[in-house]
């Protein structure tokens, strides 16, 4: 174990330095305040929503709350498995210092333990930050008091640990059994399976049946107790444990701790299976002399060659870590298309197009954290090539922004076209959907440019580190809020376009007012884009290289 602590020292010291540097920046305090405010908004919003369900629906409301909470935790559980898989590839196999550490009298078990702890921390802290407000809201809502809050928070850690252990054992097994040249295919298959699991869990989280139909049968179906399998997943077990504090009839759901025990066993197995030298197999790490020279895979013949966007696309195609981020994007598209298809079945509803646009907007915004955010950092130590050239830094950032925006607009185009088929609507509504998605694309790209520049660490290339760091959380918070604001501003124009009254609100419908609101949304977006671009450029210029 002595070795493990020595190996972890590197991470601890790096973290200490990052925290010290972060504390010196005034922007950190502004963003921290912003994040706390957002967490409080999420918390109070969730408490209000749960109380509304309980007041309006009584016992059925309680059941609906438990189902939603279970679905949410299970979705976080699967996302954390996925995250551990992505982070593990770099930490266990591709990190540049692996070969160096193997020259030390360090056992591979110690190396695995140290890196597994790093992966666990990096993979779960982001999920925890996102989940804590909901966990607190649920704990308060079930009436368990302080005991529920403490149990809930501790069990969240357990959930993260279990998910990471599953991710790591999957990764290590995969790399042991799959031939090196098939690794990419194997990871793709794994991501497809994960996507299907997420889709299934996503459906348990389906709220639109209640909102749209408002009928008892939909509610009964939604609020039905979770199936045997869903109930045995960590989300269901945690919900059960918290309920049992106030409802003696409910089983305490201590199965979550059996899961944690199983995670220990899984990690033990993974440590036995781990071979650090398998990094060779991925074609990215280790000694070059041992590898057979190969021609580079992939080219982009249709694009003008030589520019920064061209370089970024080539790098994206050829880097396994980025490939996995891309697969994440594909899984998000799959989730959107599936949900959109289900939504399309509610064609009688007037709010379906609005919900569809909001869903697509959030998919674009969330995808950005994995795909767009690491783009600035991707320059790595080779940044000198640009710094020493006559190419201004602002142009480099401009090129990055274009790549991000084109990616988002590509997604927006896919979503808009699929909307035409999946959620029937007229041309005016479709134009509103497209307009909304364009604005969300601008917000996501500008957010990724801003936080990707401010928190760029050009000494570390691993995209998962910036995703799981402060940049990731701030990007998610800021772009989610802005996307929500844009959705609110676009809601009225959607109602005008559909020609239906806004539920529970006495407001006349007019195209003039709709135009004013869309203009306001555009103005907010443009202001955010300009501020982000200015801030990113001035921050990069001030940096000492």
């Amino acid at each position: 174990m002595g070795n493990v602590f020595s190996l972890l020292m590197v991470d601890v010291l790096a973290l200490r330095t990052n925290v010290k540097q972060g504390l010196r920046r005034p922007s950190t305090y502004i963003f921290a305040l912003f994040t706390l405010l957002t967490a409080w908004l999420f918390y109070s919003g969730t408490v209000a929503f749960i109380h509304m369900l309980q007041d309006k629906l009584g016992e059925a409301g309680d059941m609906a709350t438990v189902t939603m909470f279970t679905g949410f935790l299970n979705a976080i559980f699967v996302m954390t498995i996925f995250s551990a898989l992505v982070n593990g590839i770099t930490a266990l196999y591709l990190e540049g210092d692996i070969g160096f550490l193997l020259a030390y009298p360090v056992s591979k078990g110690s190396l695995f333990t140290a890196r597994a702890l790093r992966v666990t921390t990096v993979s779960i802290w982001f999920s925890l930050m996102m989940t804590i407000p909901f966990m607190l809201a649920f704990s308060v809502a079930v009436g368990g008091g302080g005991a529920a809050v403490v149990s809930g928070l501790i069990s969240l850690l357990g959930l993260g640990l279990v998910a990471t252990a599953i991710g790591l054992v999957l990764l290590v097994t995969l790399i042991r059994i799959v031939p090196p040249h098939r690794l990419r295919l194997a990871v793709t298959a794994l991501v497809i399976v994960s996507t299907l699991v997420v889709l299934l869990l996503f459906r348990t989280f389906n709220v639109e049946d209640i909102i749209i139909k408002e009928d008892v049968s939909a509610l009964a179906g939604f609020a039905a107790p979770p199936s045997m399998v869903a109930g045995l997943l960590p989300g269901g077990l945690i919900a059960g444990m918290l309920q049992s504090l106030v409802l003696p009839a409910v089983s305490p759901g201590l199965g979550i701790w059996l899961w944690v025990l199983a995670a220990g066993v899984l990690l033990w197995i993974a440590a036995r299976l781990y071979r650090p030298q398998d990094g060779e197999a991925t074609g990215s790490g280790g000694s070059k002399a041992l590898r057979r020279p190969r021609k580079a895979e992939g080219s982009v013949p249709l694009l003008a060659t030589g520019g920064i966007p061209w370089k970024d696309v080539l790098t994206f195609i050829r880097t396994p870590q980025y490939n996995i981020q891309g697969l994440f994007l594909l899984s998000m598209i799959a989730i959107y298309l599936f949900s959109s298809y289900m939504l399309g079945k509610q064609a009688t509803s007037d709010v379906a197009p609005l919900l569809n646009a909001m869903l697509a907007g959030f998919v674009i915004s969330i995808s950005g954290v994995r795909v767009l955010l690491p783009l600035v950092n991707a320059e790595g130590r080779a940044l000198w090539v640009i710094l020493a050239s006559p190419h201004p830094l602002s142009k480099m950032l401009g090129a990055k922004f274009k790549v991000m925006l084109n990616l988002c607009l590509g997604l927006a185009a896919i979503f808009t076209v699929s909307t035409m088929f999946l959620v029937p609507q007229d041309w005016a509504t479709l134009a509103l959907t497209a307009g909304f998605l364009i604005l969300v694309s601008l917000v996501s790209s500008a957010g990724a440019l801003l936080f990707g520049s401010i928190y760029a660490d050009f000494t570390r290339l691993d995209p998962s580190l910036i995703v799981a760091g402060m940049a990731g959380i701030l990007y998610t918070v800021v772009t989610s809020i802005l996307t929500f604001v844009l959705a609110l501003l676009f809601a009225y124009p959607f109602f005008v376009s559909e020609g239906v009254a806004i539920p529970n609100v006495e407001l006349p419908l007019s195209w003039e007012a709709a135009g004013l609101l869309t203009s306001l949304a555009t103005l907010i977006t443009m202001v955010f884009v300009i501020i982000s671009a200015w801030w990113a450029v001035s921050h990069m210029r001030r940096r000492e290289w």
Partner: protein
């Protein structure tokens, strides 16, 4: 046409409490090989970063071909080819793609990049590897690729930081010959920072010795040797004598 290729006036760089470079005044002419020497941490890399426009000076000026680096960095940078000490490149690009990115940043045409790039890769023995990923190159190959990049846009000035580190004897000879040829036949100015004093003695016209951020000696090797009464000694002895006892 400026008579000097590189000129610095009272160049200073401070990092909070630490002064990395103080009042550096340099003038380097066309066809001159200037060797920049100094112990570790003396301020060599900081100076090079200021000359190449990567780092903004705290005060003072850098003129490249008579152009102020701060006033018109685009034009000034276009006259420089830079080979940094550590060969950090885009590992997922091939050798030729690396040249294409570099050439595009300098505004060169694709046809020129292909022709000139091919010739340079051939000159540095990399033609057979131009379709391989840079990440698979050895240290020496990366070093030679960086020389190809630095010369692609045919700069007037070549700034090289420790050019021989990681090169095998054949590679080292190639680089030494190249530097001498570029200065003699093409009138290019070479600014070379190095710890390999034998190389400085072999190819250098003038040397500058920096210590604790200050230039403590700057002249031709012969004059400096005479000045320090070391006419029959090596540059190494001269360097050790000049820097000895300065902390």
């Amino acid at each position: 046409m400026a008579v000097h290729r590189i000129r610095t006036v009272d160049l200073c760089k401070r990092y909070k409490d630490i002064t990395a470079v103080t009042d550096l005044n340099l003038t380097i002419h066309p066809g001159e090989v200037f060797c920049f020497l100094g112990p570790n941490g003396a301020g060599k890399s900081t100076t090079i970063k200021m000359l190449t426009g990567i780092l903004r000076p705290t005060s003072g000026q850098v003129h490249i071909n008579g152009i102020d680096m701060l006033g018109n960095s685009k034009k000034a940078k276009a006259a420089i080819g830079y080979v940094p000490e550590e060969p950090f490149l885009y590992d997922k690009l091939t050798g030729m793609e690396m040249l294409q990115v570099h050439g595009k940043l300098y505004g060169l045409s694709p046809v020129y990049i292909r022709q000139q790039g091919g010739a340079l890769l051939d000159r540095f023995g990399l033609l057979g590897a131009h379709r391989r990923l840079v990440g698979e190159y050895s240290h020496g190959m990366k070093q030679r690729l960086m020389f190809s990049m630095a010369l692609l846009h045919d700069p007037d000035i070549l700034i090289v930081d420790e050019p021989l580190v990681g090169l095998d004897p054949a590679g080292a000879k190639l680089v030494k010959d190249l530097l001498a040829t570029l200065a003699r036949d093409e009138e290019k100015t070479i600014f070379m920072s190095t710890h390999t004093l034998s190389v400085a003695e072999e190819v250098g016209d003038t040397v500058g010795i920096i210590h604790n951020g200050r230039m403590i000696a700057c002249d031709t090797i012969d004059i400096l040797k005479r000045e320090y009464d070391l006419e029959h000694q090596t540059l190494e002895s001269l360097f050790l004598q000049i820097t000895a006892g300065r902390g």
